[in-house]
């Protein structure tokens, strides 16, 4: 690894100041499970002279819930705290689908959902799930804070709308309300520890036997995780049942623009989009109807 300087920021302001003063050559580090590997292999997209640890900043460690604000997930909170959190278990159980499958136990001790989002891999396993939960990212920069919907954060492979002088502070998931269910599933050739060939994150709101809202988002089928508006319109307003779910799954297959690589051909991935979207929607409906 080339030489790096290390700064341990204790406040959001301090982190932003270090980033702004380093002329674009500083990078925030949460769990480091992407960043350290990328620096070690000299990934040209992730050049940095300074690594700024953001794990000691209080706002980035927040994990709190209230009925009116929903869930606030500090950008550096590691996966294992997420799946052990009583509020997550009670109100956002589907978030655990992603937090418990990023890496293995050791990776989950460090890896954050914030880092997963900022890393902006097309295969990022938390991103479709955060989109399905209507997540909103809070960014802090030299001119204060701003909010961006999670689905608008990723702009390309390893590229985001987050400025080089900005940090992600937290991700907010609004209170999903009654009749909500979500699910994230991925297909990998192994049982554990692999990169998604396709991932599907979905959510539904159900009232009076009808879909009142829905989200469908896919990983590993385009340069960024994508949302599928046609799948949403296939569901919203319809009675809960196999017909609309199949239409939504077909829309997901249509919307996917995958590449062929060693993990699967484009055709195979499109097929998986249909299967995974259908299965995830069925689970989300069950969860919505079963309460959790």
């Amino acid at each position: 690894m080339k030489w790096i300087d290390y700064e341990n920021a204790k406040t959001v302001d301090e982190a932003v100041k270090i980033l702004s003063q380093s002329g674009g050559k500083a990078r925030p580090m949460a769990g480091g499970t992407d960043l350290i590997v990328q620096l070690r292999v000299k990934d040209p997209r992730v050049d940095a002279d300074v690594v700024v640890n953001v794990k000691d900043i209080p706002e980035l460690n927040e994990l709190s819930y209230s009925a009116d604000k929903g869930l606030t997930i500090g950008a550096a909170v590691p996966c294992h705290e997420i799946y052990n959190d009583a509020n997550v278990i009670a109100h956002y159980p589907a978030l655990i689908d992603s937090a418990s499958l990023i890496g293995g136990t050791q990776i989950q001790g460090r890896a954050s959902l914030g880092g997963n989002l900022c890393n902006a891999a097309p295969s990022g396993d938390s991103i479709p799930n955060l989109v399905a939960h209507n997540g909103v990212a809070t960014l802090a920069g030299p001119n204060g804070t701003r909010e961006v919907a999670v689905e608008d954060v990723c702009t390309g492979p390893r590229q985001t709308c987050i400025g080089k002088d900005e940090i992600l502070v937290s991700i907010n998931l609004p209170n999903p309300g009654d009749g909500f269910g979500a699910n994230y599933i991925r297909f990998i050739p192994r049982n554990e520890m692999d990169i998604a060939v396709v991932g599907a994150g979905v959510s539904v709101n159900i009232a009076g036997g009808k879909f009142t809202a829905a989200k469908v988002s896919l990983a590993s089928v385009a340069p960024t995780p994508i949302s599928v508006p046609d799948a949403i319109s296939a569901l919203v307003g319809e009675s809960v049942g196999d017909g609309p779910i199949q239409k939504a799954a077909n829309a997901a297959k249509e919307a996917a623009k995958p590449i062929s690589d060693m993990r699967g051909t484009a055709e195979y991935r499109k097929h998986l989009c249909e299967v995974l979207t259908r299965r995830a929607l069925n689970t989300a409906v069950e969860r919505a109807q079963g309460g959790k």
Binding site: W3, I36, L39, V51, G103, T105, G109, R110, E192
Partner: protein, 159 residues
């Protein structure tokens, strides 16, 4: 000129001071700076778990931790598992169940399994396999490792 950073940390209950470059991993610091070579390097990218240590109560792959992050931390390595010359039940169970062949993965498996048994004294086979998914072994085929962990759990409950 690049300068080294002074780090104060606790390793296996003992306060340790060392100097490292910010780019050095905790794994490099343990092995090359401090001389604790029980922790092994396999892949150096987080996949194999050979470098697993316990840091502030949770297991991490030390190849994906910077040495400077050890400042103020409480670290347990394989060297801290035995109590003097008395082997830990996991170490005995690994030996007696032949849960190793070449042995390079063993320190990582033992540190990981110890953390599992501390929070879940009686895990199911599924829970053991799931917990150990971040530890790879090229030799044993895993079955003997899983059986050793089950055996250790039994010994620890009977103790």
């Amino acid at each position: 000129m690049p300068t080294k950073t002074h780090v104060t940390t606790t390793i296996n209950g003992e306060q340790i001071d060392f100097l490292c470059e910010p780019r050095q991993s905790l794994l490099e610091c343990l092995r090359d700076v401090i001389g604790l070579t029980g922790t092994k390097e396999g892949c150096n990218d987080g996949n194999c778990g050979a470098c697993t240590v316990n840091m502030d109560g949770r297991i991490v792959t030390s190849c994906l931790v910077l040495g400077v992050e050890a400042e103020g931390a409480n670290i347990e390595t394989i060297e801290g598992v035995a109590d003097g010359s008395n082997l830990h039940p996991l170490q005995l169970a690994f030996l007696e169940n032949a849960a190793l062949q070449c042995g390079i993965c063993t320190p990582g498996f033992i540190v990981s399994s110890k953390a599992l048994l501390e929070q879940n004294p009686n895990p199911t086979e599924h829970e053991i396999r799931f917990w150990l998914a971040n530890n790879l072994c090229r030799c044993t085929g895993y079955d003997k490792i899983v059986r050793a962990v089950q055996d250790a759990a039994k010994r620890m409950q009977e103790a």
